[in-house]
């Protein structure tokens, strides 16, 4: 892991939801198009802000699931039963809706694609999300750094990215 500092001021940006993908019964991937997105390192996160009609607002941090890809940013959100923000993101959000976010944030828990060293990724539940960004970035840059993923879940139905992980594991040599 290495440093990739956030440079300059982190302004609030407005993304548009372009796609919603259910990963499990309680986790959903939100694909956003974010004009002005500066790009990110795999492992970084964003702050998302919701605002009610009377001006009340709440913010939460969510990991980025995608590798850097222009203005496209994917978040995967696990719904907490009595959460304030996650149920709305995982259930009520619709395609075409604007969403406020700022980032990327956090330059410590990141993978540097130029680093050829072996990587052991260990995740529990939705903790897979930032690691998935690293796995996807590794493929994107055709890195040959050895990656191993240890992923713990409560049950088979709780595996986020199950199909993609199975496919990638099958492709491993």
């Amino acid at each position: 892991m290495a440093r990739a500092a956030v440079l300059g001021r982190l302004n609030w940006l407005v993304g548009e939801v372009t796609e919603l993908r259910d990963e499990t019964a309680t986790a959903r991937t939100i694909v956003l198009s974010v004009p002005g997105w500066p790009g990110h390192a795999p492992g970084q996160h964003v702050d998302v802000r919701l605002t009610a009609e009377d001006g009340y607002s709440a913010q939460r941090s969510y990991s980025i699931a995608s590798a850097a890809d222009g203005s496209r940013v994917e978040l995967t959100v696990q719904r907490l039963p009595d959460g304030e923000v996650s149920p709305y993101l995982a259930e009520s959000l619709v395609v075409g809706q604007p969403l406020e976010l700022r980032g990327p944030i956090g330059g410590w828990f990141v993978w540097v694609p130029a680093d050829p060293g072996p990587v052991l990724l260990i995740a529990g539940g939705s903790g897979i999300v930032p690691l998935m960004s690293m796995i996807r970035a590794r493929q994107q840059v055709a890195s040959t750094a050895p990656f191993r993923l240890v992923y713990s879940v409560r049950g088979p139905a709780d595996v986020i990215y199950a199909a993609e992980l199975a496919e990638r594991a099958a492709g491993c040599t």
Partner: protein, 199 residues
């Protein structure tokens, strides 16, 4: 103008006026660390204040614990958005530790076992605003929460309250610490929501 999220109302909880902007209340005590948790034996523990002229003041655990200490009840605010009200600590005031220290410095850099650093203006360590805390919730401070002793500066975001603290350097020039170099605000006032660079 903020973007309205149609149909979203949020949870307005009692005590909301005690929450800085963008924060939410928790009742547990989340643990976030940038690296492994150092295990520091109090028999080897040291705390050092080093001034800008190179003068060094050092306490071992015995001499540190012989200093007058006090009970502290404060609200905590973490930059990752959680806040926790009414946490109970015991610690030695930085006023006590700095009483015999001659300095014209305006800045401080806290140093921890494990290599973590965080910077703050020296004046934010004075006048009953900061402690080296060694007990939490009536028990010795556990390594997960920064034990045997951590800095406690509750009026700033919690990353300033360095866990496993082992020293403070007093400096005439400001020097950004670990998270401050990585995009987090140099000062970190929760009430002004100074989370990141430029806030």
């Amino acid at each position: 103008m903020p973007i309205i999220s149609p149909g979203w109302t949020g949870h307005r909880r009692p005590g909301g006026e005690k929450l800085p902007p963008g924060q939410y209340l928790v009742t547990d005590f989340p643990v976030l660390s940038a690296g492994p948790t150092p295990r520091v034996d109090t028999r080897r523990w040291q705390f050092t204040i080093r001034t800008e002229s190179g003068m060094v003041h050092t306490w071992d655990w015995t001499s540190f614990r012989a200093l007058p200490s006090e009970n502290i009840t404060v609200d905590l605010h973490c930059v990752t958005k959680w806040s926790k009200f009414g946490t109970g600590w015991r610690g030695v005031s930085l006023d006590t530790l700095l009483a015999g220290v001659e300095t014209a410095a305006e800045f401080a850099l806290a140093r921890s076992y494990g290599g973590y650093t965080t910077n703050l203006p020296l004046r934010d360590l004075l006048d009953g605003q900061a402690w080296i805390a060694f007990r939490y919730g009536g028990a010795d401070l556990t390594p997960e929460h920064g034990g045997p002793a951590r800095l406690l500066v509750p009026h700033l975001y919690l990353w300033k309250s360095a866990k496993w603290v082992t020293g403070i350097d007093l400096m005439t020039k400001d020097e950004p610490g670990f998270w401050e170099q990585l995009g987090y605000h140099n000062y970190g006032d929760p009430w002004r929501e100074q989370r990141y660079w430029g806030d």
